[in-house]
């Protein structure tokens, strides 16, 4: 089998402007949603209490909500988690002194519904069993956000430095621009659909950043090699050649990684759902941005043959 039977280098660079305009528009849209809607942070960031309970039969969520309200919980979220018998309850931080006791109080409240103690006892579904409780105090969330930002900064600096060392600063800068734009687009999707942004999602976003830089590295590697080996090609031609000769690897690798991620989406259950979703978006945009955004950027920044050949010319002079 051979999927990619390409006779000539595909003239990607001829359409460079179009690709960049598309990605600029997506980028701006993502920023717009981020600013306008904001991220839906999980309680790890915001603080609060989260309970996952499981019922023998599917409970009526409205009834649960009503009972919680009468028991003095305001602004809680009650929703199904995975199956109709599993319920996830989020209680935001309140100014009460005993925030760490909220979990017990919620369970008491749910038990009342389960026992049919409410006015309408037809909805009795038995007491729920507690599967998971998480409580996060207000001190923790802020730190997580700042640690996340610091991690991102370290990643960006590290990658730029490494690429500048191994290649050229032009490559480093354009790779990081292209891939930061991926990160913003993932975040934009999370803002648009109000998907929950949790710690694993943060990890996924950063992993995607490293992963799509890979992509740019593979292409740049080829660019360097082509510059060194083949004379008489213009910069756009070199870039086209590099992209064309790696495109098969790009698609296959991403396809394989995506198979793994899809498997996580299917079998991983709700706990890994958003993690896998962030990876999916990241992988799809990663191909696009690292190939079709990073390369034109390099071209516009004025990469040329001399930057790679220079080193070779200098060496013999130094010896003589």
């Amino acid at each position: 089998m051979e999927f990619f039977r390409i006779r000539k280098d595909i003239p990607f660079m001829r359409h460079a402007l179009v690709f960049n305009v598309i990605s600029l528009i997506t980028f701006l849209l993502a920023v717009f949603f981020l600013v306008n809607k904001g991220l839906h942070f999980s309680i790890e960031f915001t603080g609060g209490t989260l309970l996952e309970v499981s019922y023998a039969q599917a409970p009526d969520l409205d009834k649960l909500r009503k009972q919680m309200e009468t028991d003095g919980f305001t602004d809680t979220q009650v929703q199904n988690f995975g199956t109709s018998r599993d319920v996830l309850i989020r209680v935001p931080l309140s100014k009460d002194a005993e925030t760490s006791k909220v979990g017990d109080r919620v369970m008491a409240s749910l038990a009342r519904v389960g026992a049919g103690g409410t006015a309408d006892s037809a909805g009795a579904v038995g007491a729920p069993t507690l599967k998971r409780v998480e409580f996060v105090g207000p001190q923790v969330g802020k730190e997580l956000a700042s640690d996340g930002a610091l991690a991102l900064l370290l990643v960006v600096c590290g990658i730029v430095l490494y690429l500048a060392m191994r290649f050229e600063w032009r490559f480093a800068v354009s790779a990081i621009i292209a891939n930061m734009h991926d990160v913003v687009i993932i975040l934009g999707c999370f803002a648009l659909f109000q998907w929950e942004f949790s710690l694993p999602v943060l990890a996924a976003v950063l992993a995607v950043l490293g992963y799509s830089v890979n992509e740019s590295v593979v292409v740049f590697d080829r660019v360097r090699e082509t510059f060194k080996k083949k004379r008489g090609m213009t910069t756009p031609q070199v870039l086209d050649h590099a992209i064309t000769s790696t495109i098969s690897r790009t698609i296959i690798t991403h396809g394989c990684t995506q198979m793994m991620v899809t498997s996580m989406l299917i079998f991983g259950g709700p706990a890994l759902h958003y993690f896998a979703l962030a990876l999916t978006i990241g992988i799809l945009f990663g191909i696009y941005s690292s190939v079709l955004v990073a390369s034109p950027l390099v071209m516009w920044m004025g990469v040329s043959r001399e930057q790679f050949i220079k080193v070779k010319v200098e060496k013999p002079e130094a010896v003589v």
């Binding site: 998480e134 409580f135 996340g148 590697d221």
Partner: protein
């Protein structure tokens, strides 16, 4: 010719054998067990205890699968969870006849089913995080300001006895915020006091101050002393938590410092969070203070105090039994001076009581105070979560020496037990607050393992099928390399006993999904070399060599991400980062070195190699081969 030197083949072989060895324990699973450990340092875990456990089980006709004695515990392996529960009761009864005064902690646990020779080479199953095995996780924040105020309180008490010893007359010692102020009438006495302070309290920074007609010495803690006290407070709290958790009976608890002022507590397998939280969250400390008898006898002052306006220097408390009283803010003694607390009964009234033993400094202070205050009342307060409660406020009948003190006052036997446990387990050097709590039920844990495992397996299968269909024999080699990668990764995780969490399993899956990249790069390069007309053997060599630079670069960038996550991540992110980093290292080894070894083994010796089984190599302009 593509042949590896012997040492390279040997390295691959050794790595694989070690990988297999250390991965093995994960397949044996775990059996329910009961773990017995000593709570008191005077009682050692030894063969005698093992025999005792054995006898107790025999007497109750519970048949154990095996009894193992290790460094600090005896573990009894049992057939199923029912016998496990029964065995726990039996052992508990035999070893701790008095439940209140437990010598040994008896806890439910799991032990690995792997054979002894594996355990002997430290091949253990992966260490599962709480989200996979179920249990409770707490993050506690130590109140550092509280630690300093507490220390200043006890310094105040020390200064009082110092002034008395040196015969320096002063106009009162009080803590004001984060300082201790001593008042004087005359300047030369103040100078004398200053000299005494400089001798005996090197931690204090003393400055002069004037407050109206009064001369004052204001003492603050030096910054280095503050730092030492805070470090000590965290250490002391960790020790205290250890003691308390030992009394709870949890197998393999984790109690660690995190950052400057936080403590992580993880209790695997604990389901009764309410009890755990109760024991951990209780920040009970003992304080002995004097009762302001005059004011307490005055009804109008008491009425005002009950409304929240007690006279200066006193606090209003309600004694057990309902009567209010005013207690001076001055602390005579704190729980730090306590060496032991045991529940018992009062000799005369047969009321439940707690017997306290004080250390020598505490005993001396107690003796002095009781001698000077015969006929007055003394309040013993239990401070929990910043709120004090007067347990008892007896009248001092005579001087009490020897450091033996008894608290009794309308307590039930249960309460006496609890108070003794809390006091004995050591007081906390500073109050703590739970700032993060996570409880995961055991069924959810098992569910998470299953989901994580299925995701990895599903993805792996899909990749394997595709690779073999697309690259044929080279695809098979890639899949073998990928399997070796997984084997090594699991072995490394087992060997390091790094905590595996659900994000960690996701990281394993992702590591595999990304690791295939290296093999795709290699295979594509080999095809390209063939396309350009190289001979098969040359194509293999060139393919691997050319791909290596790219593989290295792309893995380093991924590793940068992993390291950043490792440095800044906590909890879920750290679990992900550890596996991510290890996965990159193992994938570099397996996808390049192991896969090359296999390729060499298949093709390396053949001199006349016509073609490689790497799928169709399509050449531009020619029809497919």
């Amino acid at each position: 010719m593509n042949r590896y030197p012997l040492w390279k083949n040997a390295t691959v072989l050794i790595a694989l054998v070690l990988g297999l060895l250390y991965t093995l324990p994960n397949f044996f699973g775990e059996a329910p067990a009961v773990q017995v450990a000593s709570v008191k340092s005077t009682h050692k875990v030894d063969a005698k205890l093992m025999a005792q456990v054995e006898d107790a089980l025999k007497a109750a006709s519970v048949v154990p699968q095996g009894i193992v004695l290790d460094l600090n515990s005896v573990r009894v392996r049992l057939a199923d969870t029912d016998t496990q529960l029964k065995a726990k009761d039996v052992i508990e009864k035999a070893l701790n006849p008095v439940a209140a005064d437990a010598t040994y902690s008896v806890a439910l646990n799991l032990v690995s089913n792997s054979p002894n020779w594996l355990t002997g080479i430290h091949a253990l199953p992966m260490y599962l995080g709480l989200d996979l095995r179920g249990g409770v996780h707490f993050l506690l924040q130590v109140d550092m300001k509280g630690a300093l105020t507490k220390r200043l309180d006890s310094i105040g008490a020390d200064l009082r006895s110092l002034m008395r010893d040196k015969n320096i007359r002063h106009g009162g010692i009080s803590r004001e915020g984060q300082t201790v102020a001593i008042r004087f009438r005359e300047p030369d006495i103040r100078e004398k006091a200053r000299a005494a302070l400089a001798d005996s309290q090197p931690d204090l920074l003393v400055v002069d101050a004037q407050d109206g007609a009064d001369l004052k010495l204001v003492a603050t803690l030096k910054p280095e002393a503050q730092k030492r006290i805070q470090e000590f407070a965290v250490k002391q709290n960790i020790t205290t938590l250890h003691n308390r958790i030992n009394e709870l009976g949890v197998a393999e608890p984790i109690i660690q410092q995190q950052g400057a002022d936080r403590i992580v507590v993880q209790l695997p397998g604990v389901q009764d969070t309410a009890k755990a939280k109760d024991i951990l969250g209780r920040t009970a400390t003992l304080e002995v203070r004097m009762v302001d008898d005059e004011a307490s006898a005055n009804p109008s002052i008491m009425e005002q105090a009950a409304r929240g306006q007690p006279p200066a220097g006193t606090e209003y408390y309600v004694e057990r039994g309902g009567r209010g009283l005013l207690v001076k803010k001055q602390v005579v003694l704190t729980g730090e001076r306590l060496t032991d607390a045991q529940p018992g009964f009062d000799n005369q009234t047969h009321e439940a009581a707690v017997h306290l033993s004080l250390d020598s400094a505490g005993a001396r202070i107690f003796k002095d105070v009781t001698r000077e205050s015969v006929g007055k009342r003394m309040a013993i307060l239990l401070i929990e979560k910043g709120k004090g409660e007067v347990v008892t406020a007896p009248v001092i009948r005579s001087e009490i020496g020897g450091g033996r003190v008894q608290i009794s006052g309308r307590m039930s036997t249960m309460e006496a037990n609890d108070v003794a446990l809390l006091l004995r387990a050591g007081s906390l050097a500073a109050p703590m607050e739970i700032i993060e709590e996570r409880t995961i039920g055991p069924s959810l844990g098992a569910d998470n393992i299953k989901k994580g495992f299925n995701s990895t397996l599903g993805g792996f299968a899909a990749i394997a099928v595709f690779m073999m269909a697309y690259y044929l024999l080279f695809g098979l080699v890639s899949v073998l390399a990928l399997s070796a990668n997984m084997l090594l990764l699991v072995a490394l995780l087992s060997l390091l006993q790094a905590t595996l969490t659900l994000p960690g399993i996701a990281a394993i899956a992702l590591a595999l999904g990304m690791a295939i990249d290296s093999n795709v790069l290699i295979n594509e390069r080999v095809r390209e070399e063939l396309r350009n007309g190289s001979t098969p053997q040359a194509a293999i060599t060139a393919g691997y060599e050319r791909a290596w630079a790219t593989i290295l670069d792309s893995n380093v960038t991924t590793l940068i991400v992993g390291v950043a996550l490792l440095i800044f991540g906590s909890g879920a992110v750290r679990g992900f980062a550890v596996v991510h980093c290890l996965g990159i290292l193992t994938s570099l080894f397996s996808s390049v070195i192991i896969s090359r070894a296999v390729v060499n083994w298949i093709y390396g010796r053949r001199r006349k190699l016509e073609r490689l089984s790497i799928g169709q190599v399509w050449k531009s302009g020619l029809s497919a081969k």
